[in-house]
């Protein structure tokens, strides 16, 4: 898990989390971030399950909270994940 941890003085906003997710997905899938639809199920991008779990670990690290490894399955779009993280504290 190589992600650098920004100084978390307050929780990242939903928007920041969304941008982070889009960026990460674009990197892993090797596609243009502009081509990522936040409402599109991860399954459509054929996202590898291990990448999903790695991303969840990185998110947990960054947000300094416990996250279930099944996050991307229970909340299967970027938008669903972001909304969940924003609402559940």
């Amino acid at each position: 898990m190589a992600s650098k941890k920004p100084e978390v003085t307050q929780m990242p906003t939903a928007s920041e989390i969304e941008t982070w997710l889009v960026g990460k997905l674009a990197t892993y899938l090797k596609i243009n971030p502009d081509d990522i639809d936040i409402e599109e199920p991860f399954a459509h991008y054929k996202l590898d399950s291990s990448v999903a779990v790695s991303l969840t670990n990185q998110l947990a690290d960054w947000l300094n909270r416990d996250l279930e490894p099944i996050l991307f399955w229970e909340y299967p779009t970027i938008n669903a994940v972001t909304q969940y993280l924003e609402s559940a504290d």
Partner: protein
């Protein structure tokens, strides 16, 4: 399986499965908490409403008749897990070599092979993994089970999963292979890591670690194999080395892969046969009492346990050509999620399927699968299940569940508890 790419996604806005009006069908999401705790209501609903259920490019089958038919249908081939593991390399920073060992080893696991490779490999291993060799393990299994119970008998409490069913299969497989006793613990630690090879909840970093362990495992067995070539013994490794089929024999890589697959497939499955079985008995005291009074019914009892709460809940195949099942047409290349857990509770095959009936007959459950990939280790699994469950029930009077919260492992293919605390009269 790679569920992100293949499984159903839940309702997008809420993340929970719901029925949006009569026209919108029920969606299968095995990652929901309630499914993990008790998958059977979901299976029953699917079987009734949508027994050939589509979710992206995956079809979920829940009827016994369909499941059994597909398992014997040569228009379906094995799941392509080794290739997917290899592909994960692309996501890693140091590519190619990082997951090479596990990709290569898993490439020879039986259930990922198709005929004729499968036929050949399995034929050779069958020679070595004989009924006689399995039966020879009987006294040792008794010894291991008794020892585990002896440790806790005076206290009146025990954790069946942690204290008994977890260590048992690792020791049994190690001894069967011919691993020296002092190495069994190390093997156990490696096995715990390696058995997660097809766990979808493994991160890329987890896979890298798994690969390191696979390298240690193969290095160790390479040495052991070399020793047994020089001095064969009455163990499984020697038997595997000696297996011949008209001049054909197992290659070094194949020998290593078989050693690995025995742990990967033989450990967790057996752990949960015993764990799930004991839980079922604890929850059905009349059946526990029946078994206690009639120890000779243990074989039938274990078959019913395997049916009632199968450790292996799902398996996967790929359609090689377009196939019609009922009024649905699967297309070539589609994935099929075969629910053994659902099939084993199909009322069309098993009257009163939700009832634990240790004397159920006939009981043609699919807990070990069916067709060419039928579990090679079934006799060994049965033997361990029978001895462990029988001994626990006979030796520990007044067995009761000692917790009000059960924790299930998060793995949709395998169903098992993390722990099973019980109390008994010391």
């Amino acid at each position: 399986m790679d569920p992100i790419a293949k499984q159903s996604s839940a309702d997008i806005s809420s993340g929970k499965t719901q029925q949006r009006g009569a026209a919108k069908a029920f969606r299968f999401n095995p990652w929901l908490a309630e499914f993990q705790v008790d998958p059977y209501p979901t299976y029953h609903r699917l079987r009734v409403e949508d027994p050939v259920h589509q979710s992206f490019d995956t079809w979920v089958l829940t009827r016994y008749a369909d499941v059994k038919a597909i398992l014997r249908d040569s228009r379906f081939c094995a799941d392509r897990v080794p290739k997917r593991i290899e592909n994960k390399c692309h996501y890693l920073e140091q590519q190619q070599k990082s997951l090479h060992t596990i990709a290569q080893m898993s490439g020879k696991f039986f259930f990922f092979l198709d005929p004729p490779d499968h036929t050949r490999l399995r034929g050779l291993v069958n020679q070595a993994f004989s009924a006689r060799l399995v039966e020879q393990m009987r006294p040792q299994i008794h010894e291991i089970v008794d020892k585990a119970i002896n440790k806790t008998q005076a206290t009146g409490v025990m954790d069946i999963v942690i204290d008994l069913s977890c260590p048992l299969p690792v020791i049994v497989i190690s001894r069967m292979l011919g691993v020296p006793a002092e190495e069994a613990e190390m093997l156990g630690q490696w096995s715990n890591v390696l058995s997660r090879i097809i766990d979808p909840l493994m991160s890329l970093e987890d896979y890298e670690e798994l690969n390191h362990v696979a390298i240690k495992f193969t290095d160790y067995f390479r040495d052991l194999i070399a020793e047994r070539r020089k001095r064969p013994q009455e163990d499984l490794i020697s038997a595997l080395i000696g297996a011949r089929d008209q001049g054909d024999k197992l290659s070094e890589d194949e020998l290593l892969s078989v050693c690995m697959v025995l742990f990967v497939t033989g450990e967790e499955t057996t752990v949960h046969t015993i764990g799930n079985g004991m839980l079922a008995l604890l929850r059905n005291p009349d059946q526990m009492e029946l078994l206690k009074r009639n120890p000779t019914i243990i074989q039938s009892a274990v078959e019913e346990i395997l049916r009632y709460d199968s450790p292996v809940q799902q398996t996967a195949r790929i359609a090689l050509e377009d196939v019609t099942i009922g009024n649905k047409t699967l297309q070539a290349g589609n994935n099929v999620l075969i629910s053994l857990g659902a099939a084993n509770r199909d009322p069309a095959q098993f009257p009163n399927p939700n009832r634990l009936n240790l004397l159920r007959a006939p009981n043609h459950h699919l807990a070990f699968g069916d067709g060419i990939h039928y579990c090679l280790g079934a006799p060994l699994a049965r033997l361990q299940g029978q001895i462990a469950i029988s001994t626990l029930v006979q030796r520990l009077p007044n067995l009761k569940l000692n917790t009000d919260k059960l924790e299930w492992r998060k793995n949709i293919n395998i169903r098992g508890l993390k722990s099973l605390p019980v109390s008994f009269a010391p």
